[in-house]
Amino acid sequence: MFLDTFVLLAADSADQGFLASLNGVLKLNLGDIIVTLSFFTILMLLLKKFAWGPLMGIMDQRAELIANEIESAEKSRAESQKILEEQRNLLNEARTNAQAIVENARKQGDTQRAEIITAARSEVGRMKEEATLEIASEKDKAIAAVRGEFVSLSILAASKVLGKEISEEDNRALIEETIAKAGEGR
């Protein structure tokens, strides 16, 4: 069939144009081919101009935006990481400081307590000393007073016994000597 066609075609092409012979013999719609090609080409150009171009633009823009967003997110993440680290360090520092302060305070308290105790102890010792001294001096004073009273009583008794007034001043020395002797004898 093909051979026939080509033979016919060769015969036809002698007197007709080649395109016309294609049309006539092969029943080839050359017009359709041209129309298809031109319509398709026009459609492609129109799509490129009106749809593909703008859409590509906006998709590129979006890709860029997303890239930027990712970058900025990465950056802010790094920053927050850094700040977190900083805060952690600060917290650690504060904790150490607080511990040191507590330690200091305790130490100070201990020394103060020891000081106060020592002071109190020495005060108590001092007061005891004083009290002892006072007691001793009071005792001496009391003894002296009793002694004096005793002398007076003795003189009064002696004067009563003797029936005569004897001069207190004259006999005091004598009496005191007696008392001292009595005290020794006892």
Partner: protein, 236 residues
């Protein structure tokens, strides 16, 4: 199903007016979808913008599967246009077909082998063009001698086979779908019983054709990019 094509001759060229009309409508629909989907664009996409971006990412994924994006980026628009164009062309004939004066006017433009083969040939020619442009004529010629020089004839045949299979696969799938839908519609229009009997199969087949249309559009773009990658890649 006995219909003719509304052809006219103009400047010695044959035009199938139904093809011209449907191609124009398809292009219009694709353009309107793409145009209105990309108005009022925002960084945070909503609604139709999401849809268009999904298509772009989808095609980008197809291309990235076959070659690196540095080479393949230039085919992005081509891939998007092919995907949307072929899909809309596949499904545009699904809801109805219009015949006027025994001439079929409203149908899928991809149910015509001329259109699909033109698209396929365009893709293959473009792949050769970019192969020469990116690799140089010498490297491009050498690619026919790999892996073995004696396989060069097969390589040449492969190019034609690629074109034919790429175009005819699409044509066959869509044309078969239209034929079956046409038969079901004829049955449905015949009588009340026919209508009841044809209703469920027609619905099922329309759904299936929608699926086929999407799959074929995807396959077309996928294979286009595969052929493109074969010609453009340096390492193979």
């Amino acid at each position: 199903m006995n219909h003719e094509n509304p052809t006219i001759e103009w400047l010695g060229l044959t035009f199938n007016l139904s093809n011209v009309l449907m191609l124009f409508i398809t292009c219009l629909i694709v353009f309107l979808i793409a145009f209105f989907a990309t108005r009022k664009m925002q960084l945070k996409p909503t609604g139709m913008q999401n849809f268009m971006e999904w298509i772009m990412d989808f095609v980008k994924g197809i291309i990235k599967n076959n070659m690196d994006w540095k080479t393949g980026g230039r085919f992005h628009v081509l891939g998007i246009t092919l995907l949307m164009f072929v899909f809309v062309a596949n499904v545009i004939g699904l809801p109805f077909s219009i015949q006027y004066d025994h001439k079929l006017w409203w149908k899928s433009p991809t149910a015509d082998p001329t259109v699909t083969l033109t698209l396929a040939a365009m893709v293959v020619v473009l792949s050769h063009y970019y192969g020469i442009k990116l690799l140089g004529l010498k490297e491009y010629g050498n690619s026919y001698l790999k892996p073995m020089p004696f396989m060069a004839p097969l390589k040449v045949i492969e190019e034609f086979a690629n074109t034919l299979t790429l175009g005819l696969r699409l044509y066959g799938n869509i044309y078969a779908g239209e034929v079956l839908l046409g038969l079901l519609a004829t049955l449905g229009a015949g009588s009340v019983y026919g209508f009841v009997g044809a209703l469920v199969p027609a619905l099922a087949w329309q759904g299936f054709s929608l699926f086929i249309g999407a799959i074929q559009a995807f396959i077309f773009v996928m294979l286009s990019m595969v052929y493109m990658a074969h010609k453009v890649k340096t390492d193979h």
